[in-house]
Symmetry: C2
Subunit: 224 residues, 2 copies
Amino acid sequence: MKNKIQLTVDAVVFGYESGNISVLLVKRKYEPYKDGWALPGGFVFENENLEEAVQRELLEETGVRINYLEQLYTFGDLGRDPRGRVISVAYFGLVKPNAFKLQASTDAKKAEWFNIKKLPKLAFDHKKILKIAIERLQGKITYEPIGFELLDKKFPFSDLEKLYTTLLNREIDRRNFKKKITSLKVLDELDEKVSIGPGRPASLFSFNKKRYFQLKKEGIIFEI
Amino acid sequence: MKNKIQLTVDAVVFGYESGNISVLLVKRKYEPYKDGWALPGGFVFENENLEEAVQRELLEETGVRINYLEQLYTFGDLGRDPRGRVISVAYFGLVKPNAFKLQASTDAKKAEWFNIKKLPKLAFDHKKILKIAIERLQGKITYEPIGFELLDKKFPFSDLEKLYTTLLNREIDRRNFKKKITSLKVLDELDEKVSIGPGRPASLFSFNKKRYFQLKKEGIIFEI
DNA sequence: CATTATATGCGTATAACACACACAAATATA
DNA sequence: TATATTTGTGTGTGTTATACGCATATAATG
C-alpha cells in the first residue's frame, strides 16, 4: 500500500503590543495560493520531530525563534489542501513582536504581523485554524497565568491589565483584578517607577518566573 | 521528494461500570508487537477523514461504535514505531461497556476491557498516550459536565456520586455535591424509585440532555 | 504658579459560594 | 422486631467574588 498522505506543521504565533493582538503570517512564494497569506509552516522531514519541524519552518519563513510551542490541534479533513491529502499539526505560541526582526526566506516572500481584527484572506483552511487558536488563547487565561511571554521584563501593572482587557475584550475592575493577581504571588514589585504622559507614575513589576511556571503547571482557576 | 511518513489514528475509549474505569485494548494479530496489547487504531486511508478513520478502526477491531470521539493529541516522535516514521492522531471517547459486545477482527485477535489500574504492557508509545488520556479524563470534570455517556439512562444519584469519586479517586461530600449538581439544573428527577439491596430506595434521575450539552459547550467551573 | 486632566493605588462593605458537619427516613436482612 | 444499610436533607461558618469611592502623584494648560 503506497502512502500518499503528507504531513505538515503550521504555527500560530500570537504577539501582543500595547492593546493589539497580532498574528504572524507569511506571503506564499509558490503555488498553491501563491502570493496568498498563510500561517508559517510546511512539510515535516522524515528525521525530525514535529516540534523541531514547526520551529524550523517558523524560523525559515519568518526569522522568529520560539523554543516553546504548544500543540493546538491536528487538521486532516479531505480537501483542505489542493495538493492532495495533507494533514497538518498546528502549534501555538506567544511572543513579543518587537523582540524579533522579521525575515522571510525559503517558501515565504514576506512575513508580517497582522492585527487579529484586520486579517487578510487566508490560504488553505488557515482561517479555521486561526479561529481555534484564538479560542484557545482566550480560554487559556482562565486556567493558566498569562503574560510572561507577552510583556516586557519590567512593566507597569496597567500593562498586564490592558493585556487582559484586550484578550477578554471587555473592561475589568482594576482593584479586584489587582487583588487576584496579588493573591497569586506571581508578581514581584520592583523599586522602580515609570511615568509616561500624564498621571501618577507607576511602579514596575516583573513576573516571578519560578512561581509563574509553577502556576502554569498546577493550573489556576481564574475568573475575571 | 518521496514522502515516507505514515499516518495512523488511535482510539482511547474509556468505559465506566460501578466504580471501575476501564479502557478498551486489542491484542495485535500481526507484527510489530504481535500478540501485544495496544490501543485500537490503524492507518488512515487516503479518502477518509481522521474521525472516520478512527471510528472505522475502532469498529473493525473491537465492534464498538462511537459517533463522538474527541481529538486528544498527535504523537509524532521519531522512533515511536518500529515500522518507520509513523505519526498517530489519538482520539478519546467515553462509553458504557455493557452497551457493546466486543468483537475483534482485521488486525486484532481479541478486544478486551482493562481496568486502568491493571493494565498490561502496551505496544508502541501507547502507555504514554493512555497516560495523557487519563489526565484529560480527570481534568474534564472540572470544566465540563460528565456522566451522560457513562451512566444508564436512568440512574440513582449515588451512581453519579460514585462516578465522581472514582474519577477523582477520593471521597466527596454527598450533600455539597448534590447542591452543586442541583444548581446546574442538569438532572431531571423522575417519578420512579429503585431499591437494590438494603437501604432506603433511591429516586431515579436522568440527564437533561439539552442542558447537559449546553453546559458542555459553555463550560463549567466545577471544583469538587 | 495654580488649576485641571489623567492615571495609579489602596480599602471596605455586601453578596455569593465553598466547605464542614449530623441526623432522619426507608428499605433488606437476621 | 431489631439491626444494618443506604438515601436524603439543612444550617452555620469561613472564604472568595464583586461593587464601589477616594486619595495620591504626575503632566498639561492657562
